[in-house]
Symmetry: D2
Subunit: 357 residues, 4 copies
Amino acid sequence: MGNMKAAVFVEPGRIVLDSKPIPEVGPLDALVKVTTTTICGTDVHILRGEYPVSKGLTIGHEPVGVIEKLGSAVTGYEEGQRVIAGAITPSGHSNACLCGQPSQDGAGTRHGFRPLGGWRFGNTIDGCQAEYVLVPDAMTNLASVPRELTDEQVLMCPDIMSTGFAGAESGGVKIGDTVAVFAQGPIGLCAAAGARLMGATTVIAVDTVRERLAMSRSLGVDHVVDFKAGDPVEAIRQLTDGRGVDVAIEALGTQGTFEGALRSLRPGGTLSSLGVYSSDLRIPLDAFSAGLGDNRIVTSLCPGGKERMRRLMSVIASGRVDLKPMVTHRFTLDEIEQAYELFANQRDGVLKVAITP
Amino acid sequence: MGNMKAAVFVEPGRIVLDSKPIPEVGPLDALVKVTTTTICGTDVHILRGEYPVSKGLTIGHEPVGVIEKLGSAVTGYEEGQRVIAGAITPSGHSNACLCGQPSQDGAGTRHGFRPLGGWRFGNTIDGCQAEYVLVPDAMTNLASVPRELTDEQVLMCPDIMSTGFAGAESGGVKIGDTVAVFAQGPIGLCAAAGARLMGATTVIAVDTVRERLAMSRSLGVDHVVDFKAGDPVEAIRQLTDGRGVDVAIEALGTQGTFEGALRSLRPGGTLSSLGVYSSDLRIPLDAFSAGLGDNRIVTSLCPGGKERMRRLMSVIASGRVDLKPMVTHRFTLDEIEQAYELFANQRDGVLKVAITP
Amino acid sequence: MGNMKAAVFVEPGRIVLDSKPIPEVGPLDALVKVTTTTICGTDVHILRGEYPVSKGLTIGHEPVGVIEKLGSAVTGYEEGQRVIAGAITPSGHSNACLCGQPSQDGAGTRHGFRPLGGWRFGNTIDGCQAEYVLVPDAMTNLASVPRELTDEQVLMCPDIMSTGFAGAESGGVKIGDTVAVFAQGPIGLCAAAGARLMGATTVIAVDTVRERLAMSRSLGVDHVVDFKAGDPVEAIRQLTDGRGVDVAIEALGTQGTFEGALRSLRPGGTLSSLGVYSSDLRIPLDAFSAGLGDNRIVTSLCPGGKERMRRLMSVIASGRVDLKPMVTHRFTLDEIEQAYELFANQRDGVLKVAITP
Amino acid sequence: MGNMKAAVFVEPGRIVLDSKPIPEVGPLDALVKVTTTTICGTDVHILRGEYPVSKGLTIGHEPVGVIEKLGSAVTGYEEGQRVIAGAITPSGHSNACLCGQPSQDGAGTRHGFRPLGGWRFGNTIDGCQAEYVLVPDAMTNLASVPRELTDEQVLMCPDIMSTGFAGAESGGVKIGDTVAVFAQGPIGLCAAAGARLMGATTVIAVDTVRERLAMSRSLGVDHVVDFKAGDPVEAIRQLTDGRGVDVAIEALGTQGTFEGALRSLRPGGTLSSLGVYSSDLRIPLDAFSAGLGDNRIVTSLCPGGKERMRRLMSVIASGRVDLKPMVTHRFTLDEIEQAYELFANQRDGVLKVAITP
């Protein structure tokens, strides 16, 4: 079918725009012509060699596009349809999927489970920072985009919004809860928005970057805490009048944020962890009540699948949450190396970039 | 009302039988004449000074007895009635109780939560290794013992059985689950029995003490793993044909058992922790899938309250689980110092002792 | 302690303002001087003799007031404190409470359960349409009102808001859900607000009264359906593009609203029923998929207790929901018979009245 | 591929053994050579014309067999493998599946939901009372049978056991619960076994057929109630000392059993309905506490999918439940018309029949 441009991992420190063949379409696949995509913090880990992927792999896991070609066994879609797919593309038929844990999908493995197995785009198969992307198990993963929503409006659905909201959902946020969110990068911002959306009545956001805290406020956060201005745990204790929070969401992946989240909890509270850690974690004995505090530590990998995407798009369409302001910069696919440079170095107050092939 | 004998904490290393006044009965209390009680691993921590309590406190939190006198505001009971009370005695009216977390009860504190606040007997108020014990918030805590059950049959209900079963319950054990239990002391044995009771179809118990593994088998465990005979995580992988377990229950309180439990999980599995830890815990990055494994770590403090006791006694009465063989030794209250000596040193294959005042 | 004015049930058709002794305070009670209260639809059922209560009973179950006197065993409060109590006043210590079902409290009965047993005010004990009300089990039920909230702002918490929100909570509303609410009286309005608060992205309200539909819109409902303008089930089908709703909330108590709610569900959807029915209900075979639709029908009695009240007041304090506009009319206690007249006949667009003794 | 024998619906009153072409295998299908199957109560409804299916359809939805041929897109299986598939064969990729409700699967429809849509075998596609059956969405549905289990041991997994256990699971049975099961046909028997397996400590079975009540006892039911010997609701009240049951499971599909189940509940209890009803249901006002009893009525269609089948087979393999005695009669496929005659008329104490092609 000819060639296409794609952002390809070459070696640690180098993701370059290259030319690759447009992929062949298997019976369960769909070929999607990408119209907008973005760069994720995970892609920066890949760029730096901190998360290993195969050389030559196309990076990117947040596709908005148009169906170019459907696999022979795919029904219920038509070519030309505007779609998104989640960053995580579960098969639908693995034991993990049938068990309610599609992100740990291990279709084809002996037991149907594989850690992080649902994450395929830009990890185990070619991703979507390219002109075309092949979506596996298309019937499970392609979600139709409502006409009234623009590409940029739905660009956060595949990963950032799904992951952030999962922080609130796995934390079991209830009406009247107090929730603290540690770190206000794109995922932390979405976690704060998700906690509010589920009925938390006091949402406290912790960060130090001015633009991020401003964005927190505009998403409806009740209190922001600058962790450079003093101990954030102490600040949260004061804001909660000594009670501690019902749910603390960790959204960075460091010992500091993990521990801060744990120490902010009321007895019996839940720590919902979203971060990608890069070293062992320590649970301090006192913060854990020696194991007797009825605490829960839950982790979530981004939920995927077309029903999840449909629901997230309905949040956008209903106006409940507006994430468009999170797109702070725009690039063409040809400029993607510059985009990585800006995003990886967190220049210019960047939150998320839009890449248009 | 005169004096009574009671096992009292004097200083680290010394719990002695002493004479104390029989307590006054407040309006919400009940005075219970103890007929049988026991010693818990936690009491040994107290004895050794590893868990600090006030000097002069009566130890013990597992009472079986007869109501001697009811507080003026207590209704629904009568003197002479045979009762038990849980090790944890929630007030019923704190915010923690009304929130579904009675073990973290903080009645009277500003927010109604206090870590471990529901644990009062032998911790913040006098316990039941005595001739009499004052049960606070009696209407919440006194559970009538069915005539057909002996003291020894219900002796495990207040703590061991409630805690052990909570390991399975908090882990969310489902029909068809595979569950591993790390350590087969009394609580681990009850956790294994609880997992089976909830529908686990493969229960794997890890320990090394011969008597305990024999008791595991008699409680219906499917496989026992001697951790001295090889890496128990590897053994569990083999027993599960490489899949890992749905739920792993930690029942000792060490880094080794915690880490073993974590490493035994399938992707998306739950670690249910029951142990009392005495130092910081480490979560190895790989065992935690860098935070992306959809894992949950949940902790449980022994559930109390009369409804819990009623349900546990119904398990005994129905014959579903028989814990009487766990009572391996018997002493009078006068012999309690010897009982501590035996139990603290795990002599003679002791599992639990019965103390009769 | 002298006498007080109270609205008393005399016989069907007659609730009159009368003089009664100010009640004696038992050890677990608190005497509250009522500063604001209101009339509920249930009170109208009582007035009409449709729901039987004892002659001479003081009516009313939605108190805002100030603690006048505390029982001898009550701690954690002080006289002069501003408080509310829920319409339902669970004991905290019954088996029902300890089982997670405080509204079915049966403290003192053999099993600790009694249908509707938690509803005591204006049902089995004197209520709060009076100068003073005795709050039973005060430590379980008295919730401190934050200084910044006015009486009218918290007046909906004891019943209307707690019941309405329970409709959404028991329905298990999730992010992205579509929810229909049948009837937009005060409880239906709160149910709609609760569904939105929990993350429903399409909330559809069904009623025909102009003022109510206007109020629905101001509370954030996405679509209103006038059931007199056509079949509401058909309208909901169209609004959901043929899918049906995830959760339908019934908020009136008639066969029509019950059946409409059932017929609006998608396969596997949940009908959450709040209404007080006055005759048998019929489940049509087709609407129920012959019992094979994985449907759930759940009912909820108003949740009470101080933690519930605290959470509802935090919803108000955070500005997430503003229910003050629901108070459409104001009366003094001396005018309560007029207030009943207006409210019972739904005159003048009345939603809720405020009564100030 | 030639022809095969199949039990085909001709017209109400007539299911006959006929010859049909062996089906073609599509890319996602698997052709399974049936080694054992059975007749279900639902098949009798079809026979009688009470549940309409197309003329010429092959009946039957409980297949045990061997993979004859795999579709071109199917991976993870091999020809010759022994397998079962559930009565319900979800696609895995519909919105219903991704929402946790695979039995209401509507793959290919606009919204991905269709009432009972997951039930395809012998309903919307050819079933398995034949020499061969085509299993759709094979990767979602084919479950490998462990070598140590015989055909008859796993014959209940596809429907009876999955449905019966779902009654206990949807009812939320917990440790210490009291559960009543109305009707002890094969599904009711499995519901009782499922309730016990989940930790119910008092299981009460209601029926009148002597063989069924005997089978109840052998499956571990604690009390049997003969509804012809007196009012079963009254008997249950007495057995529960006036308390009522936590969960009542309806397993027949009549007003009488539905109402009996509802009336047996304690306040706040759950009615879990499994029956296929054939007329409207009535909810008596008093039995429903006028809608204020915090009751739940939940319905379940048989859960399917390979993970469900795997778990049910592990229940059998572990020896927790032994359902082999439920197979009371055996026939060859050639004798299937006689088998229908016996089964439809409930002759000779029949519970389930095994049919071997």
